[in-house]
Amino acid sequence: MHALALLAASVTVVGAIMVITRRVAVHAVLYLVVTLLALAAVLVMQGASFAAMLEIIIYAGAIMVLFVFVIMMLNLGQTDSTREKEWLRPRAWLGPGILATIVCAELLYCRRPLSGPAPALAPITAHDVGLSLFGRYVLMVELVSFLLLAGLVSAFYIGRNRMGRH
């Protein structure tokens, strides 16, 4: 394994851990951006550069901006961070930590090393993805569009409702 790969993987994991332990929401968002960027690097190393691009543009770009906007709207302050601190006492970590550890251990235990020669890494280009996407999975694309539309409508509805109240 390349050192670069190792680095990207460790940044990803550490970033994720930082995300769930931060008290201030903006910090967490920034760590999440870091995590996602590192993940994009991992994807590139797997030859999925198209996916990596999407990860950066949509996830780290669009979605995270959404988070930032919302956090800004929520207008979080010192009281919130102290409350977060109060919520994040070590006792609260015990149960979830054990549970997550068990799940992790079990998943790792289940993971069976694949035998046989790994094929040479050939990049899957956007061309391939596009062919597949609008060939075999065209119906899926339509469904996703419905989903997006539904999300759009519901988000709009919830937001509009709030505006109507005030």
Binding site: G95, P96, L99, A100, I102, V103, E106, L107, Y109, C110
Partner: protein, 656 residues
């Protein structure tokens, strides 16, 4: 020809019955009367034709016709089959001819009754049922007629149903005869089991003759059939229904007493006389019961004050004669008396009906009186019938038939078991006494009603339609008996020769004084009656009504009361007590009991059970609380449960 005529013979009255019943309210009274008379009249003509055919044939000739198989199966077969031999020939002649006369009379008598259609429907059905009864060659087929006759009598006795007393009388008649029917049914079952599956009269009698039946079986069968005949013919101990049967219209009474119904029992025993001849104890019982009945009937008739009731009791008494004759084995005499009795009793009833009708429905003989001046024709008819009933010597039919019975009884002899014997002379004495009493009571009635001071005024005239049958019956009841004479007078045996040419009864060994005694007894009765009631200054106008012996007898309620208190009341009481179905109560009560008991037990164990229950409740509540914790609505907990489930699932997958 005969196979065609015999069904027609039965179908004619049946069709008339159906037509009159269906046309109720659409046809006028005249038309209904004509239809009914035509139905019975056609069958009367047919029966005469059939008689001629039968008599012109060989001596033992029998006309057989099997219409269709009724029930055929392994072990049993019965057919709707008819048979015309000389006995049934006599019966159909009596039934149709007398029946026709009664119908003609009734067409006038019932002219103004609104229910005339129902009346004639029942009357013609009655005749049809009786014809089935006498013609059937299968005992089960006979049973159809037997029950049909009972049903029709029920309908006719209760014809004027507005008065509950009439319907009670009708039901009484049916119930009484129904008991006999059950006995007959049992007798038939016994016979069919013994003969191996057939109830053909010929087969049954052959089986009896062959000794297929054990003596005890024969006795039982004869006893069963005797009970049936007793019930149908109103003999002791079933006599109580017949006087009450007067509740019906008078032509009905005439039909029941003269032509149909009560003669069925006599006919049945005469038909099965071979069976009875093998059952000596039953024969003796028949004779004794007949003799007792004839005396009892005569005594009761002597103290009655109701004209129709006198005649009713006289019928019971005369039927006693017939049973006496049957018991003594002279069934020809019984049938002969049956025939003459049919003539004179029909005459008496019809005349009585005419008298009552003209006397404003007055039936009490003491309120009538002196009628010979206002209605001489009816007086003549009634006297003719009365003298025939009394058996005045030589000039009446009743004399010859009664003489035949008396001579037969004299020579009877019963060898009962264990050395007990019963011989004829005592029975003969009773019969003679009965003859005396018969003359006494009927002439008492004649003298009271027709002589003496005028009672209730009479109105109207007897219509011609009513007088023609009366005239015919007068002739028949006076002259109908000369076809059979005692040897002492003239060895003329047309009647018994007609019935059974091979065994003509002859009583040459009997002393001549027997006939003299038989002739003397009615004359003595007539004389005494004249002395007591007939003279212008009667010795005894009326038997003291308050005498304790007479009173129950007069009302004829002695036996009635006994039955009432012994059977009817307990039955009603028990039925009333159990009307709500004790078993129902038992079951429902058990349910209630269990319910109460469980409640009791629960209360008794309340501390224990209660604690148990409280504990259980607490546990359940606790468990519910625990479960409720799972559903606390907190998303994170749900997520935790999902993760836990994932853990568990994976663990199972891993460890397995």
């Amino acid at each position: 020809m005969a196979t065609f005529l015999i069904p027609i013979l039965i179908l004619c009255p049946l069709a008339a019955s159906l037509i009159t019943f269906v046309s109720a309210g659409r046809m006028d009274a005249r038309g209904i009367g004509m239809v009914a008379c035509a139905g019975v009249g056609i069958s009367a003509v047919i029966s005469i034709i059939l008689s001629v055919m039968l008599l012109s044939g060989p001596v033992t000739g029998v006309l057989q016709v099997t219409l269709w198989p009724w029930m055929h199966m392994p072990g049993f077969s019965a057919d709707i089959a008819f048979m015309l031999d000389r006995v049934s020939m006599l019966m159909i002649l009596v039934v149709t001819v007398v029946g026709l006369l009664i119908h003609i009379y009734a067409a006038s008598y019932m002219y103004h009754d609104p229910g005339i259609a129902r009346f004639f429907a029942c009357m013609t059905l009655f005749v049809a049922a009786m014809l089935v009864l006498v013609l059937a060659s299968d005992l089960l087929c006979l049973f159809i007629g037997w029950e049909g006759v009972g049903l029709c009598s029920y309908l006719l006795i209760g014809f004027w149903y507005d008065d509950p007393a009439n319907t009670v009388a009708a039901r009484k008649a049916f119930y009484m005869t129904r008991m006999g029917d059950v006995a007959l049914l049992c007798g038939l079952l016994l016979l069919v089991t013994a003969t191996g599956g057939s109830l053909r009269i010929g087969t049954v009698l052959a089986a009896v003759a062959n000794g297929q039946l054990a003596p005890s079986g024969i006795n039982m069968a004869a006893l069963f059939i005797l009970v049936a005949a007793l019930a149908k013919s109103a003999q002791i101990p079933f006599q109580t229904w017949l006087p009450d049967a007067m509740a019906g219209p008078t032509p009905t009474s005439a039909l029941i007493h003269a032509a149909t119904m009560v003669t069925a029992g006599v006919y049945l025993i005469a038909r099965l006389h071979d069976l009875f001849a093998m059952a000596v104890p039953v024969m003796a019982l028949t004779a004794v019961l007949g003799a007792l009945t004839l005396l009892m009937g005569a005594c009761t008739a002597l103290v009655q004050s109701d004209l129709k009731r006198i005649l009713a009791w006289s019928t019971i008494s005369q039927l006693g004669y017939m049973f006496l004759a049957l018991g003594c084995g002279v069934w020809q005499a019984a049938l002969f008396h049956l025939m003459t009795h049919a003539f004179f009793k029909a005459l008496l009833f019809l005349t009585a009906g005419a008298i009552i009708m003209r006397a404003h429905h007055e039936q009490d003989i003491f309120r009538l009186g002196g009628l010979r001046h206002t209605m001489p024709g009816l007086t003549a008819a009634f006297v003719a019938g009365a003298s025939s009933l009394a058996g005045l010597p030589l000039v009446t039919a009743g004399f010859y038939s009664k003489e035949m019975i008396l001579s037969g009884v004299w020579s009877a002899h019963f060898n009962l078991t264990h050395g007990w014997t019963l011989s004829g002379p005592p029975l003969w004495g009773m019969a003679l006494l009965g003859a005396f009493l018969t003359a006494l009571y009927i002439f008492r009635c004649v003298f009271i009603v027709f002589c003496g001071k005028a009672g209730t005024g009479a109105a109207g005239r007897t219509s011609r339609l009513m007088s023609i049958p009366l005239g015919c019956l007068c002739i028949l009841s006076l002259c109908g008996g000369v076809i059979e004479m005692p040897d002492t007078l003239l060895p003329l045996h047309l009647f018994s020769g007609l019935l059974d040419p091979t065994a003509v009864l002859s009583h040459t060994h009997q002393p001549a004084w027997l006939v003299m005694a038989g002739a003397g007894a009615p004359l003595a009765g007539l004389g005494v009656a004249w002395v007591l009631w007939g003279r212008s200054s009667p010795v005894m106008r009326e038997i003291p009504g308050q005498a304790p012996v007479i009173c129950p007898v007069r009302t004829g309620r002695g036996m009635d009361a006994l039955y009432h208190y012994a059977f009817v009341q307990p039955f009603c009481l028990l039925a009333w007590l159990t009307r709500l179905d004790i078993l129902n109560h038992a079951v429902t009560g058990t349910g209630l009991l269990i319910q109460t008991a469980s409640a009791r037990i629960f209360r008794a164990r309340a501390d224990f059970l209660g604690r148990l229950a409280i504990q259980a409740t607490r546990m359940i509540r606790w468990a519910g609380h625990l479960l409720g914790l799972l559903h606390n609505g907190r998303v994170r907990w749900y997520a935790a449960w999902i993760a836990g489930g994932l853990c568990a699932g994976l663990a199972m997958a891993v460890l397995s």
